[in-house]
């Protein structure tokens, strides 16, 4: 009796072990999927570096190179003004970049108040990131790092954020404190203040 019970248990255990191994499932936390499916392939460092174009507010991701407002003015005139206007005043639907009201502005009172770089952009790094990603509209990615720094410097100086003599590079761009930074607050439509409340 006893030996037969042991034998049966042993066979059952072995069968369970084999079936587990056969379908390679890791039934942890009740999840029937394995932790990994071993699909895809390891990304090559060179390929990751080629795609890794993002820029963070602390300056991470900014390339080497530099530029000034003086050289940026010429690039702006040649590559940007046709959509954004000679003085960054915008040509709808292309937005105004320069010349919005500064200081104590309440944008919620009127949608027509121009939201420009100096009054509505919380980080200067965003300007570089966006120009590098998407501008100019008809030839994105065509500006060099130096040219992108230069256009960024031109726009920031026209908005009075930096002197027009500043040479922008990875370090000086990340150090800029934007006038609009203090405006931005987190979403309060959820949690204890949100939920059923209209906010």
């Amino acid at each position: 009796m006893r030996s037969r019970f042991v034998a049966t248990t042993l066979v059952a255990t072995l069968a369970t072990a084999v079936s587990c191994r056969l379908d390679a499932r890791d039934d942890y936390l009740g999840d029937k999927d394995p932790k990994q499916f071993a699909l895809g392939h390891a990304a090559a460092p060179a390929q990751m570096a080629a795609l890794d174009v993002d820029v963070s507010p602390n300056g991470a991701g900014l390339p080497s190179g530099s530029g000034t407002a003086a050289s940026g003015a010429a690039i702006y005139a040649g590559s940007c003004a046709s959509c954004h206007g000679d003085n960054g005043e915008g040509k709808p639907p292309y937005p105004q970049l320069i010349g919005g009201p500064k200081g104590d502005v309440d944008f919620s009172t009127d949608a027509k108040i121009p939201r420009t770089i100096g009054n509505y952009w919380p980080y200067a790094t965003t300007l570089f990131d966006y120009i590098r990603r998407a501008m100019p509209l008809t030839a994105p990615g065509s500006l060099s790092a130096d040219q992108t720094y230069a256009v960024t410097a031109y726009l920031l100086s026209r908005e009075g954020v930096i002197p027009d003599t500043t040479r922008l590079d990875a370090r000086s761009l990340a150090a800029i404190q934007m006038p609009a930074r203090h405006r931005f607050v987190d979403d309060d439509r959820t949690g204890s203040r949100g939920g059923k409340n209209v906010r």
């Binding site: 499916f37 990304a43 390929q47 949608a111």
Partner: protein
Amino acid sequence: MTEKPISRRTLITGAAVAASGALLTSLPSEAQQATTPAIPATPPGAAQAVPVDPTKAPGAPTTPVGTRSPFVSPARSPVGEITGASLTPLQAFSGTITPADLHFTRNHAGTPTIDPATHTLLIHGLVDRPLELTLADLKRFPATTHTYFVECAGNGRSAYRTPKPEMTPQQVDGMISNSEWTGVPLATLFREAGVKSSAEWFLAEGGDACLMARSVPVRKAREDALVVYAQNGEPLRPEQGFPIRLLLPGWEGNVNVKWLRRIKLATEPFMTRWETSKYSDPLPGGKVRWMSFEMDAKSLITSPAYPERLSGPGWWPVTGLAWSGRGRITRVDVSTDGGKHWVDAELLTPTTTKAMVRFQHMWHWDGGESLLMSRATDDNGYVQPAMAQLRAVRGPGTDYHFNPIRAWRVAADGTVTFEANT
């Protein structure tokens, strides 16, 4: 390619009808179709002959791809936009699913053409195993299928800023569509890559000409985020992100990054243009709300609506769509007297989370002037606000996530127009 089968079918139909001696009539003109969208395309088969009695001759032969009846011609509008929107003709539909070829689009640098054989998704940053996945790889993961709406953060803005009575449901709130999506839970891919516990945000980047990029909290991946490759049973349409897009249920359209090519895990948001100076909401006191992902509960009557005209008093179904980015619609109330009285409308379809539901209220119109309204409630107890309530809370200058109660005015002659002041 399209010319040949059409002309051949027309010939065959024409010959068969001629042989049977049946009379031919032409298709009804656009003006005769009372419920046609305001900006219709020319029906593709407009030149096709229509037999008076289609039972007296064989019909058209089979074709590789179906077409709409030449009598219906729903169309997105406007078209030709590289950096703009093209809106869904909500008034043309029944039920809740948006036909894939009529899903709204809002692009920032046009629709790219991407070869699925070479497109990859890179997952890197704060992960143990940086991964590159092809579409074929993604299809080997366990799939999941859900119905969710996608709504542009700016849906309804133009009806607020530049309202006019002659606006269709499409023109009022047509930057929303509802589809069955199939793909892989982002959580599965994150587990595959071994996302580190320090990762709180990820950048989702598209492969279009603006390298669309948005920062997303990792918690959304733990909740319900998907990487999808199919829409209503077929591969994504190019305008919806072929071959793959991010699908973040209930969250503003822009963050559902199309043509997804890269996900980078990080500790902090990246502060791209689209999440700072673009899709943010000014608030009273000079503040600006950012990372405001969720779409508030909303509803819209799609019929009766402009340009319909009620032919006379009697029973009319008041029908429309409701949705919430925070959960499930629990009820929709309809008013036919401008909000003085409300009745609990029937919900015609299952109410699942972050998906459209269709409502209906059978209305006996007495022929008098009426103001039709709908009001959605979701499972948080959130009730769609009146315009005045929304403006009081957010200020008149804020118009993203814009979800006021909408109204349609029915005149004694049966004409229906959009009423912006509710």
